[in-house]
């Protein structure tokens, strides 16, 4: 799992690539938290276009990012979700809790 960060005007874009499973989730979670704490964004965008596999570990990461942004009074957007990851999010009903585009 690799995460690249781009930040401008208090918008933080995090681009994920690789497999987002339990094995990679702990480091990914830490990286997301560190990037958010450093940028203190108003808007956080998680771009999942490079995710080749995702299981419920990805749901935990997205919900954690959402909580972090709520503490900052900011917003979260999850975008470019590949088909397999989308089915995982849909099965868990995450679209009701998080903005997915």
């Amino acid at each position: 799992m690799e995460i690249s960060a781009k930040s401008a005007d208090r918008n933080l874009l995090l681009e994920f690539s690789g497999e987002l499973d339990h094995h990679g989730a702990r480091d990914a979670l830490r990286e997301v938290e560190m990037a958010v704490d450093a940028a203190l964004p108003k808007k956080l965008v998680l771009d999942l276009s490079g995710v080749t596999f995702m299981d419920s570990s990805g749901i935990a990461l997205i919900l954690r990012a959402q909580q972090r942004m709520q503490l900052l009074d900011g917003s979260l957007l999850v975008c470019n979700v590949p088909a397999q990851a989308k089915r995982v999010l849909d099965a868990a009903g995450i679209g009701r809790l998080v903005t997915i585009r």
Partner: protein, 149 residues
């Protein structure tokens, strides 16, 4: 009664998180002989990942134990997956299967069983506290026309 399998494979590995990727890829390789669609293959990989992760995180929280994965090809194009551990067991299986229920801390979502149920046709969980947990999942794959036949 146990249905007869036309082919099967069993693998056993230590409960290290680096084996999650191995387990789902190995199962997908074996399942390929049923000529699954890409969606079916992804569903199977996701279900394996959830079950194996549960064994790694919950069955052996403070130690490394053995995780057994068995894949059987049963009549009617049915794939049967068994993930078994000899870990600490689940005291209340019904509660563990509830969406969002987790004892796994902030990096777990509590959606593992929900996803297994959603991606497979049938899910059975047997657990004895102190003895271990066995998860059996079945999925019938859509029969496909073989080219040239």
């Amino acid at each position: 009664m146990k249905t007869k399998a036309s082919n099967e494979v069993t693998m056993e590995f230590p409960s290290r998180s680096s084996n999650e990727g191995f387990a789902r890829s190995a199962v997908a390789c074996f399942a390929a002989q049923l000529d699954p669609t890409l969606n079916e293959l992804e569903d199977i990989k996701t279900a394996v990942s959830e079950a194996v992760t549960n064994a790694i995180v919950h069955a052996y929280p403070d130690a490394i134990g053995k995780v057994l994965v068995k894949v059987r090809i049963c009549p009617g194009n049915v794939l049967e997956l068994t993930v078994k551990d000899r870990g600490r067991g689940i005291p209340d299986v019904d509660r563990a299967r509830q969406p969002m229920f987790t004892t796994g801390g902030e990096e777990r979502s509590g959606m593992g069983f929900t996803i297994m149920e959603s991606f497979m046709d049938k899910l059975t969980v047997r657990s004895v506290p102190g003895k271990g947990t066995t998860v059996v999942m079945k999925k019938r794959l859509a029969p496909r026309m073989k080219a040239g036949k």
